[in-house]
Amino acid sequence: MSQYYLMQDAKRCIACRACEVVCKINKGLPKGPKPCEVVVVGPKFISGLPRAFFKFMPCFHCEKPWCIAACPTGAMQKRDDGIVYVDEALCVGCKACMSACPWGVPQWNAEKRKVAKCDYCMDRLDKGLLPACVTICVTKCLYFGKSDEIPSVRRERAARATAYFE
């Protein structure tokens, strides 16, 4: 994994798709490619109540990315901080990364005839900003930070969820 972690609190997500729109605008993408997407599972009735799961799907920036292994030109690359990105100048549009990625992350930009993908908005990160999706998120259900800071947060959550007072 990269040194970052983009976490979604699905309970707060309302599937408004502001993240998808801002991502595309920030990357100047045409109709079609969605580097991130909220996939809706449901709604279905669970114990009489309608319930849906809104799953935010960006790139996971794997430790050993299938996409990099598959890329024949070296266009798919990994930065020192672990961000997996595509160097458009080297992309020949072979779509090998799209076939390789188990999560369906690399997207086809039909206008440029090249691949587009989530790079955690590294241009924004390098300017001291958060990824576009995280900044804009209507309900603040997206969180971005260093991966090694996650455990303490999860521990605090778990503690709150199981707290009892004698």
Binding site: M7, I14, I25, G48, V138, K140, K146, V153, E156
Partner: protein
């Protein structure tokens, strides 16, 4: 398989802890980059605080401009509940600015109406033409023969001033189409209109939403405030014949029979009064007509309501008890759109009365009255309509609001769905010209073919809009307005617990040959000899004129995008301080407003009969990705939701031989449309549902042209004559399989 494990256990929010974490991260990053930033091209970039206008909510925004281009928009970080957040429509404004499908300059029709034959002309030519036509029509038929219809906006006072000078009483807004009856219901009980009443989402313990699709027809701040309350344990009860995103977040969900919400409320009142679950002290102090309600409500038992609504009596009783435990921090939401049925006003009144029974009026976590500058010892911004010497127009309005036909609807907004009747029947008098400002009657007023016939009778139609609406397409002259990022606008008087003023500021120069609407109106006024009532040349002049005497200046808005009259919340004393504006100074369950106009306060409930075999009640609504009829052609929003489909219950679809995705023909007494079916268990069998806003016919808007279908084609033009709303969900339609669109 998708690895769900890493995300398990993260689902339960601890927002506070996480936000702290995020803040630390940002600060860390910022400190590293300060140097780099200050060395950057600082002269070519600027930050502008403004107000979004992708819908009418007016979310405060921060716009980053680089080399004269909008590079980034986010929610104003200084405003609680925004803090960077922006909805998909707000974000998509970045695509609106540079959209070549905007109206690029003034246009004059050269072929038949709707043929799409246009001539691009100069502003002088267009304005001279409009001014001379208006003058000619006013001279021949009187000023009253000219109508102005608009989507309420910050410059409404400018347009009203113009109409008064023309000698016409006929300024109306789209408001009544959306919520005229909510407005009237609020006045009947409190003496205040619905925009004067706020909702304290942040502190609520239980909110009840009647088809108020809170998380899709969304407002950023209320969404965040309610989510915050829910994280602290607040309950959400949602009542809707259709499962929405809001339903998926609810603690109680009721798939009610369409049109029977009033029966549900009467049963709630029955239980609340019978079991004395109400706030006795509050009701005794502030309510007029409680005994009358108590007597009226006797027959409406939960068992009676079960038969009408399909909701088990026990659940209604349980809900009443559950709600009463949290009083007064409970909200029965009085609605955003309130225009569904002919008895709309009585339904909206019942919601408001439930709030009063719970004592949740001027209460933390309930409803409150919005406080204006005067409550904080300040002065509001001036409006052009307040000028001395401006003529008053006392003639009867085209919609007869204020007469015995429509005694109660708010004359500040009118009843727009009466426009086709007024034109076609020349009743109360002939209407010859119409000016529409960002309002699209062809797609908004029910019964499109009726509205089309009325248009044919008009001598002159002018549209002031940012893009090719259907109405622009059928106009004679189109005057293009600059989009909100390209213009400064009139001051927003943001009343609330803390009265404030916000300002929409120009961020970039207009991309095309467009003008702000108040400048267009001023230039028309100059040509008609009304200059003295338009004391400005630029929008900045107008804002400065508005701010005179308030103690604030234009520059005061630079730092955060708004100014505040006070930093403390103003609450009235619930014992003795409610400044109700009804004749009795009480909350009038027995309403003098209604009864003086000859309407009962408590008419007996009229049962809603199930539709005959093969017919369905048409319901319409919104999604998070579109605003009414105005965003369907946006590059990004169009990609997300390019067309509407018709929701139909699985069991009914099977009976009709309709499969998911089939083209179906939907027909009513007014017209028929063809669109794809969405076959689902998520809707009540008596209802079918479609999104509002599709079925555009303006060819220049290529992305939305011909996509989906317009609800206005199917909806019958009928109204709640007491409250003023149209009954948009009261049309019965047939559905059958179509083999080709």
């Amino acid at each position: 398989m998708f690895p769900e494990q890493p995300f398990e256990g993260l689902v339960f929010a601890l927002a506070l802890a996480l936000h702290k974490w995020q803040a630390v991260f940002v600060i860390h990053f910022c400190s590293e980059n300060v140097e780099k930033r200050s060395e950057g091209e600082i002269n070519m970039t600027k930050t502008v605080f403004s107000l979004c206008f992708m819908c009418t909510v007016r979310c405060p925004i921060k716009v980053e401009v680089e080399n004269g281009q909008v590079k980034w928009i986010e929610g104003n970080p200084h405003v609680p509940g925004m803090q960077g957040s922006l909805c998909p429509r707000g974000v998509a404004a970045m695509a609106l600015v540079n959209d070549p499908e905007r109206i690029q300059g003034p246009m004059v029709r050269t072929g038949p109406r709707g043929s799409g034959e246009w001539k691009r002309v100069s502003w002088d030519e267009a304005l001279n033409l409009v001014a001379s036509k208006l003058q000619e029509i006013a001279k021949t038929y009187g000023g009253r023969s000219i109508v102005w219809g608009e989507r309420t906006n910050l410059a409404t006072h400018v347009n009203k001033t113009f109409m008064r000078l023309l000698g016409s009483p006929n300024h109306f807004t789209h408001d009544a189409l959306c919520k005229g009856s909510v407005n009237t219901a609020c006045r009947s009980l409190f003496g205040y209109t619905d925009p004067e009443i706020g909702i304290d989402y942040k502190n609520t313990k239980h909110i009840v939403l009647y088809g108020r699709n809170f998380f899709e027809a969304l407002e950023v701040r209320p969404v965040n405030f309610l989510l915050q309350a829910m994280e602290e344990g607040a309950k959400l009860t949602y009542i809707d014949p259709r499962v929405t995103v809001t339903a998926t977040k609810a603690h109680n969900y009721f798939m009610i029979r369409p049109g029977t919400d009033l029966a549900f409320n009467y049963a709630l009142m029955h239980v609340i009064i019978k079991e004395k679950l109400y706030d006795v002290k509050f009701v005794e102090r502030w309510v007029k007509g409680f005994q009358e309600l108590e007597a009226f409500i006797q027959p409406y038992t939960p068992e009676w309501a079960e038969k009408e609504t399909g909701i088990p009596a026990a659940r209604i009783v349980a809900l009443a008890r559950e709600l009463s435990q949290q009083k007064p921090s409970v909200i029965f939401h009085f609605g955003y759109r309130g225009a569904s049925h002919p008895n709309e006003i009585y339904f909206r009144r019942s919601i408001l009365m439930l709030n009063a029974l719970m004592g949740s009026i001027e209460a933390k976590g309930g409803l409150f009255f919005k406080k204006g500058p005067k409550e904080a010892g300040g002065k509001p911004a001036r409006k052009l309509t307040e000028q001395d010497g401006l003529p008053k127009v006392t003639e009867v309005r085209f919609d007869k609001v204020g007469t015995e036909v429509f005694p109660l609807p708010d004359p500040n907004h009118g009843v727009p769905q009466m426009l086709p009747f007024a034109i076609l029947n020349e009743d109360p008098y002939p209407i010859k010209a119409a000016i529409f400002n960002r309002f699209d009657p062809l797609l908004s007023i029910p019964d499109r073919s009726l509205t089309e016939r009325a248009f044919e009778k008009l001598d002159f139609i002018v549209t002031i809009d940012i893009q090719w609406s259907d109405t622009a397409w059928h106009s004679d002259v189109v005057l293009p307005e600059s989009v909100f990022l390209e213009r400064t606008d009139c001051v927003q008087q943001a009343n609330g617990l803390k009265p404030q003023m916000f300002l929409r500021r120009q961020a970039v120069l207009p991309r095309y040959d467009t003008l702000p609407a108040p400048i267009i109106v001023k230039r028309l006024a100059d040509r008609l000899g009304f200059s003295r009532f338009f004391p400005y040349e630029t929008m900045e002049d107008l804002v400065k004129w508005q701010l005179e005497g308030t103690g604030f200046t234009l520059e005061d808005f630079d730092r955060k995008g708004f100014v505040a009259y006070t930093d403390k919340e103003i609450w009235w004393d619930r014992e003795n301080g409610l400044k109700l504006k009804t004749p009795s100074s009480k909350i009038e369950f027995v309403s003098s407003l209604l009864e003086n106009a000859g309407y009962p306060s408590f008419p007996p409930y009229e049962p809603v009969l199930p539709p005959p075999e093969g017919r369905y009640r048409l319901m319409v609504g919104r999604c998070a990705q579109h605003t009414h009829i105005s965003t369907q052609n946006n590059l990004y929003l169009n990609e997300l939701v390019p067309e509407n489909v018709i929701w139909i219950n699985r069991r009914e679809a099977e009976r009709l031989g309709i499969n998911n995705g089939d083209f179906v023909e939907v027909s009513s007494s007014c017209g028929d449309v063809c669109l794809r079916a969405y076959v689902t268990d998520l809707i009540h069998p008596e209802a079918i549902f479609m999104l509002h806003g599709f079925g555009h016919t303006a060819r220049f808007a290529t992305r939305s042209f011909g996509k989906g279908a317009a609800d206005a084609v199917l909806q019958e033009n009928k109204s709640d004559n007491v409250g003023g709303s149209p009954a948009l969900d009261d049309t019965l339609v047939r559905v059958r399989r179509a083999y080709r669109k």
